[in-house]
């Protein structure tokens, strides 16, 4: 029984982090109808940022997530200004393929500069710390990352639902031309949304370094899982992303433990396909 609870808890914590990664993608997708294919690579860049800050300047991930988040915010803004804004509306698949080109560029640039080696940050503040609940072990890095992700997700939800900026973003998502007529600078909104989406995944990446090794391929799987979560939750929906992320996290943990570790992603992708066949627009999609 305690094994089962342990597996559930691991899945839940992983799901909370996935939710933050996916929320950034969902925001961009929901507002602009653009898939940012470089989303996973944004995560990788954030992890490298946090790793080097920790390794060279001895800044702990518990602080350096701010720098990672800010860095990827800027990266997102630049990506929108110089890449995405120039191919939006030209052809249906142009932004997707352009950001795929960016992902290839970033991944191989990091491979070229930092080698394919796995790098893990040593002697961080939370390293090795655990909470014991009976037979259940909770790793502090995972717990802090999970809870922090959840808090940020609430903050993002609040931003979207309760502030003028959030309303402007929602209005732009519903109808760009109408929003423009209401005096909203929609180009500025798009820029900001791309930055915010980047900041979400940047912060997630910054926190992840406290327990996960960074390497040039690390973003690929996270990116793919984020696509599934967004499509499963229904694009643009933050509660949808959270629900879908928790489902994915739990399925991954349960299948990995009770079937076999190699089948955990097979189970994740199969669950996604099964749900999408019944609800083609995702759980919370409209």
């Amino acid at each position: 029984m305690s094994t089962f609870a342990q597996v559930l808890l691991d899945g839940l914590l992983a799901g909370m982090l996935y939710a933050l990664v996916a929320a950034g993608l969902s925001l961009i997708w929901g507002v602009m109808d653009v898939i940012n294919f470089a989303h996973g690579e944004f995560l990788m860049v954030a992890m490298y940022m946090s790793y080097w800050l920790g390794f060279l300047a001895h800044v702990d991930p518990i602080v350096s997530w701010i720098a990672s988040g800010a860095f990827v915010f800027i990266l997102g803004v630049l990506t929108y200004r110089f890449l995405v804004s120039r191919c939006i509306g030209k052809a249906a698949m142009a932004p997707l393929l352009a950001t795929f080109g960016l992902s290839m560029f970033l991944k191989n640039l990091c491979l070229n500069r930092f080698s394919p080696n796995f790098r893990i940050l040593q002697s961080t503040l939370l390293e090795g710390k655990k909470i014991l609940l009976g037979n259940i072990v909770i790793g502090m890095p995972q717990l802090v990352t999970g809870i922090f992700s959840l808090l940020l997700l609430f903050a993002l939800y609040f931003l979207m639902k309760k502030t003028r900026l959030g309303w402007a973003i929602q209005a732009t998502a519903m109808d760009r031309e109408a929003a423009e007529l209401m005096g909203i600078n929609t180009d500025r909104i798009y820029l900001l949304v791309f930055g915010l989406g980047g900041a979400c995944v940047g912060i997630a990446g910054g926190l992840l370094t406290s327990y996960l090794a960074v390497h040039p391929e690390v973003g690929s799987l996270f990116g793919l899982i984020a696509f599934l979560i967004v499509a499963l939750g229904g694009f643009g929906s933050i509660p949808g992303a959270l629900a879908a992320a928790v489902i994915i996290g739990l399925v991954e943990a349960l299948a990995g433990f009770y079937i076999a570790p190699v089948f955990k992603y097979v189970a994740v992708f199969a669950i996604y396909l099964a749900v999408i066949m019944v609800r083609p627009k995702g759980l919370f999609g409209w």
Binding site: N112, F263, I276
Partner: protein, 332 residues
Amino acid sequence: MKTGKLEKKDLLWIGLIGILAVLPLVPGLIGNTFRAHVLILILLYASMAQSWNIVSGYAGQVSFGHSVFFGIGAYGAGMAVVTYGLTPWPGLLAGAVLAALVSLLISYPCFKLKGHYFAIATFAIVEIFNRLFMVWDWVGGALGLDYPILPDGWKNFVWSETKVGFYYGALVLFILIFGIVRWIETHRLGYYLRAVREGQETAESLGVNSSAVKLSAMAFSAFLAALCGGFFVQYNYRVDPPMVMSLDMSMKFVLITILGGVGSFWGPLLGAAILIPLQEYSRAYLTALGSGVDLIIFGIIIMLMMIKQPKGIVGILQDLGIGQRKKEGEGN
């Protein structure tokens, strides 16, 4: 029908095949050179891209799952040789038929999904196949299948002395696939495909059975992609899941076609003729700059192309006034 235009296009096509067919007769041009390797890859990747173009270019259903069909073809030929000690030919045929069947099974439910949802579903399918093949002992698992040493010739479809055999093999594949697409383009199925791409509801209201049209395009496309996979495994003497069934391989189908010009007959060839030499020569000559330089360049080219001309090289040529055709057959 603009018969004048069609004849001109056919002349270009026949002339190109003629030139490609006599190339190996020029002494020292093919042989066992790096140039031969690049030419073979151009023909192979152009064929792969054209097979993808049928369902994604002409019919507008953008699939990121073609490495699954490619991989099934590769494993068909590979298992016939390695596991069963046969020639690759029965395996090639079985793999291609199986790929077409698998494509129907996958597409039947997935065609209900629209736009990005369809694309992401095909990603998921690639990952599922990749991971299942990695642990499936019958197909060699993560280690894959390594070819034994076999006598050269068409029977085994391997050559170790010279690449001329592989060159002609790739050329046959190229003529077959481009010929089929040429046929589809000028016959009823081609018009149906484009009608479905431009507006499924409108096409249906005019009596086009859109799901039958899309499914048959997918089956054709998967069958031909699997043939390319069979060639690929023979050429590399080995196969493992990341080589053939991966998102990266799927993206090659997509990128070459898109960079050349999606939904156009010459697009896949133009895309392959520019990207493949670039990739192979930069990989060979820029190694001093470290690993991944070829893919960095690749990434930059994709970004620039999407910014400047998402219609690809065909679009650039049209801007320059070359190969101007009437609207039909052009993608966007």
